[in-house]
Amino acid sequence: MAHTDAFVAATRFGLGPMPGELDAIAQQGPKPWLIAQLDGPDPEVDKRLAALGSAAEALGVFAARKAADDAARKMLREELRDDFVDEHAAHLAATACTTRPYRERLVAFWANHLTVSTTKKEIVALAGAFEREVIRPGLDGTYADLLVASARHPAMLAYLDNGRSVGPSSMAGMRSGRGINENYARELLELHTLGVNGGYDQSDVESLAELLTGWTVDVGRASQGTGGFVYRPERHEPGPHKVLGKSYGEAEPAIRALAAHPSTATHLATKLVRQFVADDPPPKAVSAIARAWTVSGGSLPAVHRALVDLPEAWANPLAKVRTPWDLVVATTRLLAVEPAADGTRSGPDGTAMLRSLLLLGQLPYRAPSPQGWPDRADAWVGPGAVWARLEWAELVARRFASTGIAPNADALAQAAFGPVGSATTRTAIAAAPPTQALALLIASPEFQRR
């Protein structure tokens, strides 16, 4: 049914509809609406993010910090924290406003796949830049290019310790006694490409780690336009090194070979299908995406188009549970563009969105491990977790009420999930007092899912 498809386009692929958007999508055609979003970035989003700093600039701040005394360091630390809040509030507001929500979901997906996390302090200043410099531009190219760009970015080099890895037989290694750190090599194989059963072994991890020695962060001389990356040959473990049976003298060809490996296609197809179809990815859908991947040489636009063509993605409208990020963005899209009584529209409050994510346990760029945030219902819904969701629903409703605008919860429910809303939910919202109806909408099974 046309309107159910519009709902799926807006919710499974997108980030949840703004009021009235479902009708517009149905008019344009759900699939064309999605495909059109793949041909380039949302200029409005780019504009909102344009003023934010680069990784190179952040590294300059670090360099300054090293030289500073304790008091200055403390101030810089607080500045970094404030900057993080402002930066990610801007990201969230842009995401909430976008006319290309499928694209924004893909940004979040790939950023999560190539996770960097503020569990490592340096990432506080680098995560946003990583997204802007690596992930966003990477959506329009091949996975190999995206992967190489991520491998060269100071955020990834710092997060997974490759910046500190030194070949024991290299000049620097012999001089200092420092050696290999295999953290990044392992995660590159296990998480970023082949997958844990993709056909590599411990010797591949070690060889890849040796190949990667010398790829490090350029703190302090970042103004030379390197983006924060520098290759230090004096740290490089002399080769050649064999990865998956093939010999390499340097890292980039090996990384590209891993990106092109058939196990990578299957591994990443599985993750994509989990995001866009179901927690347990149906094998047929995985094969279809893996095929599109292979046939296109890992072209991300081709793969993103193939996802839209998956019949399984359209078949079961509420199959996935919304993560906290999904919930906060969807709620903001639904509510934040409501016109005030005087006709003005208040834009989304990115800082409030950020606080909500903190409360719900998904602060941006703070995944607990390099695996990133999980994408299964049972990782997000449990007895402890439901309280946070309910309290948050109530708080949002109260916040909305305090603006003096009486929400028309019935109309909003229709706008959010009209085509798939149950009679039970509709009746419950209609029967609730105004102070509770909006909370009930947000807490409804339909809104908690996508």
Binding site: R77, R81, F84, T118, T119, K120, V124, D161, R164, S165, V166, P168, G173, G177, R178, G179, I180, N181, E182, N183, R186, E190, V196, Q202, A352, L354, R355, L358, L359, L363, P368, S369, Q371, D378, A379, W380, V381, G382, P383, G384, A385, V386, A388, L390, E391, E394, L395, R398, S402, T424, T425, A428, A432, T435, Q436, A439, L440, A443, P445, Q448
Partner: protein, 436 residues
């Protein structure tokens, strides 16, 4: 409407999750054994067993891990720099010692309420966190070998339907299974308008995912919600919206800020909620099995400093558990386990990489402790797995089988067939539990 009346009215929501175990042998939980408690502390990231429990008495030790036998693993010194004096590890049994960061556990050691299992491993040896943790929790010999956990399966066949809980937002894999398992925030009581909650309850009643989660959540609050500290740790909702935000119906204009501590990994005093978990286990209406976890053990770099902070947190988790349990400590066993140990040799960054064999800890008043349980394989390169990792000579499942059998009275055949399938090579370890 007071809480009890409200919850009574929602009684229909509190459905049990038990299914399909009608024919499993009922184990002897009740009748005296009903007082036994088990707590599991999962250390996520791969604790370096050789740092937590160094082995200075092994002839390869000083080549491997440090010149002065101190706790600084692979710390790279600049030329001419002297090593600062580091507190020495505390000698235990035989060649073993205890990292000074765990010094708070020495009274437990002396009271024979602490034991260490060294050179221990699961059936998994491929060094992936994801798969390793899955095996640690699922109790089979391979990753994703079961959609349930060994503890969930063990409890499913125990009389009296003891329920279990995890501190945190969701029920971890280890507790999933036929028996009732809940998850709970140890720090903060939820506050949702009662009437709204009733409406949401009706809305979720038939939802297969949300309905049971909410029912469990409400039931859990009724049973143990009151055991939290009266003055909760600052955090989350209270800091963001003010302590009374749930009651006066108003949001606040001066909403709280995101703090640096939210971003830079500084930890709360009681990350594992151990005090609350202990009290919950001791409560009449409370669970008899609880799981909590601590993260941050994946020490690839600069591990000396990291472990100096993390190990005291682990020690405090155990002492907090003891404090919360009170008199019930005497009938409790605590297991502390991690997915794998780490490389015997330090890496190039003052840390260690993923390994195989490691150390586990046992504690509790019911434990026959005061010893290191290890069939020590040695630390020469030829003794290491792939020339790099401590070789596990004890299967963690042997330890768990012994505890489940002797402490919780789980039927031995059930242990072999259902709780730890395909574990024929792991004989249940005897003598872990004190005679009653």
């Amino acid at each position: 409407m007071d809480r009890r009346t409200f919850l009574g009215g929602l009684g229909t929501l509190a459905a049990s999750a038990s299914t399909g175990w009608a024919f499993a042998p009922r184990s002897a939980w009740a009748a005296g054994a009903g007082e036994r408690r088990l707590a599991l502390v999962i250390l996520r990231g791969g604790l370096d067993g050789l740092a937590a429990v160094p082995v200075p008495g092994d002839r390869s030790w000083s080549d491997l891990r440090g010149d002065d036998g101190d706790d600084e693993v692979g710390r790279v010194r600049r030329p001419g720099e002297q090593a600062p004096p580091a507190p020495a590890p505390t000698p235990l049994d035989g060649p073993f010692a205890l990292h000074p960061g765990l010094g708070a556990l020495m009274p437990l050691w002396q009271a024979r309420e602490l034991a260490i299992v060294h050179a221990v491993g699961t059936a998994y040896a491929s060094r992936s966190h994801f798969d390793g943790q899955n095996v640690l929790e699922n109790g089979t010999a391979r990753p994703f070998g079961a959609p349930t956990g060994w503890l969930g399966r063990a409890l499913g066949a125990v009389d009296g339907e003891p329920w279990s809980m995890a501190a945190g937002r969701v029920v971890p894999l280890v507790l999933r299974g036929p028996a009732t398992a809940s998850s709970v925030d140890p720090d903060r009581a939820p506050r949702v308008n009662g009437e709204l909650l009733a409406r949401i309850g009706s809305l979720w009643h038939n939802d297969p995912l949300m309905g049971p989660a909410l029912a469990e959540a409400i039931d859990t609050e009724a049973r143990i919600g009151g055991l939290r500290d009266a003055t909760p740790l600052p955090g989350g909702f209270d800091r963001m919206y003010g302590a009374d935000a749930g009651l006066d119906g108003r949001g606040r204009d001066d909403d709280g800020e995101i703090r640096g501590s939210d971003l830079d990994g500084r930890r709360k005093r009681d990350d594992a909620g151990a005090l609350f978990v202990g009290r919950a286990l001791a409560a009449t209406d409370g669970p008899r099995v609880a799981v909590t976890e601590l993260g941050g053990w994946d020490t690839h770099t600069g591990q000396s400093a990291t472990l100096s902070q993390r190990l005291p947190e682990l020690a405090r988790t155990l002492t907090d558990l003891r404090e919360g349990l009170g008199a019930a400590w005497a009938s409790t066993v605590v297991v502390v386990a991690t997915e794998f140990g780490r490389t015997a040799h330090p890496n190039g960054s003052g840390g260690t990489d993923h390994g195989v064999g490691g150390a586990a800890f046992l504690a509790g008043g019911a434990l026959a402790g005061g010893r290191v349980i290890a069939d020590w394989p040695g630390l020469a390169d030829r003794d290491l797995v792939d020339g790099r990792d401590l070789r596990p000579t004890t299967d963690l499942r042997s330890v768990l089988k012994g505890l489940l059998r002797d402490h919780l009275g789980v039927d031995a055949a059930h242990l072999e067939r259902d709780v730890f399938p395909d574990s024929g090579g792991a004989r249940p370890m005897d003598g872990l539990v004190r005679a009653a």
